[in-house]
Symmetry: D2
Subunit: 385 residues, 4 copies
């Protein structure tokens, strides 16, 4: 099976996100790392790409050069990953989609709802994949949750409770450290800090597993460290288009919580609980029955979950492989298109431009509510109304 050609923008030497994407793309041997524009410093970016095995003529100085160069090639990249600073995601993603490339964009896809609507429109118009890296949705048992809910295993969903709470920005003495400070500065971070950065993952998960979208939001933001303009703790209540009630807590000052990504879903006939820090167990309780522990790798999982699992039951499987599943899915979709066949439907679960758009619209709605005495605000982007 020929590997697909893959390109990366951003993820230069010393970054965390670069190795994560290379690992994700490389893990199953489905992608060949063919092209890159890895650094804001063109010379450094070219040298680093070559040190990672990219051919000299595809080790580009910047993304525009890469777009031009790849567009001309017969063996052009099949997928490009955009892992640059947040504020640049929009224009790069837009340009590559318009250039006819499939894109995997880091979150947030854009900084504003309007930009999000534009990307959404372009991806629809061009027919190109615009995946967004809500990587936690790649876990096998998160997909099991989604499949169970879709199959009615817990009945109509009444309530979803999501959390993403950590304590890594809790040190007031460290709050002026530039590494931390920009996150709470609206000039650098936009309208929201911890919700846009961390909570957004939990929000996406709530939508992903329930198959419902957010309609209205009431939020409470707090800046528990006084010097911060943006929120470092937020509670978001929401209502979903399938009737579910949503509750989301996110924090950056919850000392002792490492990560805290947890999703609980309660339906008419059952409940489900999953935690990212112990991702190989899913807790399922049927109405009036006992809680059951569903193990990743078990023989009775849904196809969506089995597909997203690599090692046998009882062995732990973690975040990097969940992340890789987004790539595995994309490879299947791209390959099926190339081969003129139907793709495996279980591979069709990766987050897309619509998810990127909706989640940004939710962040804006939450911010409006928090500034507006907690009133309920519509969170549906105009283009999707």
């Amino acid at each position: 099976m020929t590997k697909l050609n893959w390109g990366l923008i951003g993820g230069g030497e010393g970054s965390q996100i670069g190795p994560a994407h290379r690992l994700g793309a490389g893990i199953d041997g489905l992608f060949h790392f063919a092209a890159g524009a890895l650094d804001v410093d063109p010379a450094k970016g070219r040298a680093y790409a070559q040190s990672l095995g990219v051919a000299e003529d595809r080790a580009y100085g910047d993304w525009k050069e890469m777009l031009a160069g790849e567009s001309k090639r017969d063996d052009k990249i099949d997928l490009v990953t955009v892992a640059t600073p947040n504020a640049t995601h929009f224009e790069i993603t837009k340009a590559f989609l318009e250039g006819g490339f499939h894109v995997l964009c880091e979150k947030p896809m854009t900084m504003t709802v309007e930009e999000g609507e534009e990307i959404y429109k372009i991806s629809k118009a061009t027919g190109k994949q615009c995946a967004v890296n809500f990587g936690y949705s790649g876990f096998s048992l998160v997909r099991q949750m989604k499949a169970m809910i879709a199959n009615g295993d817990i009945g109509k969903v009444r309530l979803v409770k999501a959390e993403f709470a950590h304590g890594f920005h809790a040190d007031a003495a460290d709050a002026d450290n530039p590494r931390v400070r920009w996150r709470y500065d609206p000039k650098a971070a936009g309208v929201s800090a911890v919700l846009a950065d961390a909570g957004i993952h939990a929000l996406h998960m709530a939508c992903f597993v329930t198959g419902q979208d957010v309609e209205t939001i009431s939020a409470d933001y707090a800046s528990t460290i006084a010097s911060r303009e943006l929120e470092d703790d937020a509670m978001v209540n929401f209502r979903m288009d399938g009737g579910a009630v949503g509750r989301l807590w996110t924090s950056a000052v919850a000392i002792g919580r490492m990560h805290g990504l947890t999703i609980q879903v309660f339906g008419e006939s059952g409940g489900l609980v999953w935690q990212q820090e112990h991702p190989n167990q899913l807790y399922y309780t049927p109405l009036n029955g006992r809680t059951q522990i569903i193990e990743r790798g078990a023989g009775d999982l849904y196809a969506e979950a089995s597909r997203a699992s690599r090692v046998t039951i009882g062995h732990s499987e973690g975040m990097p492989l969940a992340f890789a599943n987004i790539y595995t899915d994309l490879a299947e979709i791209i390959r099926a298109e190339k081969e003129g066949r139907a793709a495996d439907p279980a591979a069709n679960l990766f987050p897309r431009a619509e998810d990127g758009l909706r989640s940004m619209a939710s962040v804006y709605a939450a911010t409006d509510s928090a500034k507006g005495d907690g009133r309920w605000v519509n969170a549906v982007p105009n283009i999707l109304k």
Copy 2:
């Protein structure tokens, strides 16, 4: 050591609350069960009290008879417990306080804020103890939390996150069962269902451990089973008078959650987590440090926690003994008064009329907010402003 005389109102044959109070009062041998008016049916109440060892002349037909009878005695009861239906707590508690008795009242202390203010005033005026049975505050490690926070071990409190979520009212087919239905009917239950019944405990705990009171509230109520007029799930955001942000989730439809009483407190220099279902461990994380597991019964606990612990480390200790600690505290306070000595300050932690009043004011404020588009509502009773 002579036992104190104890009386019980309510808790008739077949009730759950009666045995719980008898166990709590009896467990340390501090109280003698001397008088009772246990049933709405006077004959049944008299017979049942006698079957439990109460003398014939103190097995009363109703609480008025008991008040009259005990008032005349030299060996009158030292403490009376009010464990009748919620709507009667106010008048009975009022009457006994005014009659010069110490009272332990089941929660809710009253059905309205105004009644709460009256009880509060009477307890101040008479100097009698009016304890309110927020029994979870009796756990040894809850008291350790309180003491740690009071001693500055986690610095100034920024955030408290409280939960009391269960799934025992989640069965729609059971919603019309009278045993369940009255709880969601405003005529029987008042202005709130799950918050007033379950969440109120978590709310009290948030105040108890932080030593702060609720000032303002924004709430979101949901009735996830359509036939219910009152809420079966609620999210309450609040701000406290010491500057802490509060978040409280309560639910009766969280299938798979048994009880779910959990308190997390995050300060400037540390975090704490405690769960009622595993009450013998307290998780403490110092800022930038490792999470530590504090075990009930350990040698380095604060006096408030050591006092409230009966068996050695490693042995589980549960809810009935926590509940009993309220009685143990009251016994010490009452006995010290009788003996004209200062009471052990570590015994002075039981919840009082002020707690009963404030928690009811919070329930009313939350209800107002939930009905008012989530706006922030003042939750401080007028009498305490």
Copy 3:
């Protein structure tokens, strides 16, 4: 319902075991603390008993005086608890059984197998109850385990794995502290230290839940602190009369383990796991199925478990109430005898002289094996062969 009269020997002021027994006997209001010989110092014992409410003429100076005094009374005690130093259990238990009293003896029942056989014979001959305080067998979910196994829910038992491992004797600097040292000195402690003191509980539990008895044993003892003559860590393999394989680990040097009492049972069609430190959950896995969490207080428990549970599901219940269940059972058995009716069969589960005898025979067999290069040794007392 008239209370039964109860007497206590040992458990003087400052002891741990005294309050535990008083709490256990008193918790359900079934026993009246009528007589006591609480201290080796007769005057202190008499005074302390009176301070606890025992009448002056039943506050005895020693157990012989108490035996003589009670024997003459019409309202003599219905049950006596022997909570004296280990080496005295035999003679006191023997004397009271022969005097026609029901006895609850602290473990170990005797110091030797021969003494155990004698007690066993006397209890058979007199028809008096001789209960032995293996208190962990009183937990509701331990009884659920026993009932499930008896009912075939996990099929024929293949394997039982028991542990009781703590770290409270791990400090070498503390090893010569008299509080610790006597436990590892054969002159004071007998043939075994940690197995006879802690592991014996786990061994009893293995027998209790499986309904099988130990036949043969191979053991490995270690004294990890050099100055100790007796073992502070032991592994015991055994075979049971129903065909089960047994494995038991016990330790006093497992730093970080608080108590570590855990029982796992594996049968032909399922497995069960229970831990004393989190006693309100029982983990059950049917063959080829998912692990289920059985909660104490659930509606579908066996009668043996429901009887031994006092508070509703979701509330924690701990060791003191488990301990109390031994008293509750005894009260039912004694009362039924007095009333000439059949006792509730679910109350018939408390450990008895046969258990005390068998467990001591197992300790001796384990010691023989450990001294004998690990060879397999018969552990059945001659009288039971």
Copy 4:
């Protein structure tokens, strides 16, 4: 950085072990999959290797052809992985070592102690790396344990308790399924079943983390399913050359246990607990102190642990990346040799021929003991005495 050339023997289409090794070798982009002899059917093996991107002339029909072919090349493979059926490991590993190749051999390295001694001698004589795939030793926090112990953080080790217990061979109805049956047949599996297959990992871990080797063994084997000739459950007691006492339980009939690989180490001044199913937390208790939770990815880990960790704290990391660490280590060692520089000492932790030899000697000693009434047997291979 040029990739190293890597070859694989075994791991044909449909196997589990093949993808695991390709993922491990590929994950960090350090190895190029250059050569393979993947199947007992030469044509199938050649075709499958080519489908995975191996060049036609390096897609070999069998290992002998591969050894001959690679030996002649200038760009010969830098490392060969032997992932064939157990009985063939010896001759293939031997041949490649003698041919001057570095080898990573699946466990068990050999079927007998004598063969193990021969491999050990050859690896010493040739100076070639002979790694053995005890992959669990690659977890970041397992290496933290090792480093902590080596640095004296828990003092002299007194006791190590290891477990590897699962329930996947518990179904008697499935026992004659060929997929299961061969494992309990001495003709196919050798002298031991569950100890040689599963328990051996826990045994290696005990040695790995303590830095001590096994000297003597006393074992108890059980075949809980009657038709089995070899053991499906075993308890192994041992003594180590540094004075530690060892206890190891392994089982294949522990229904409900998924994997159960757990290591506990107790020293003079602390204890450690780690579980493979939740590998991102390590529990450390200092003597007389509180248990601390050490998180993978924390800033204060030892270099050996930090090196073996890829994602930030709070994100789960699982078995496949632990496995990959063996390859990462080998890459560093091989590359350093090529570059004539000292290797990173933290990369020098992978298991070797000596580990393969010692663990097989322990299996034989345990089997002798189990057949010999539990007597203690020396487990040190002659060549290492």
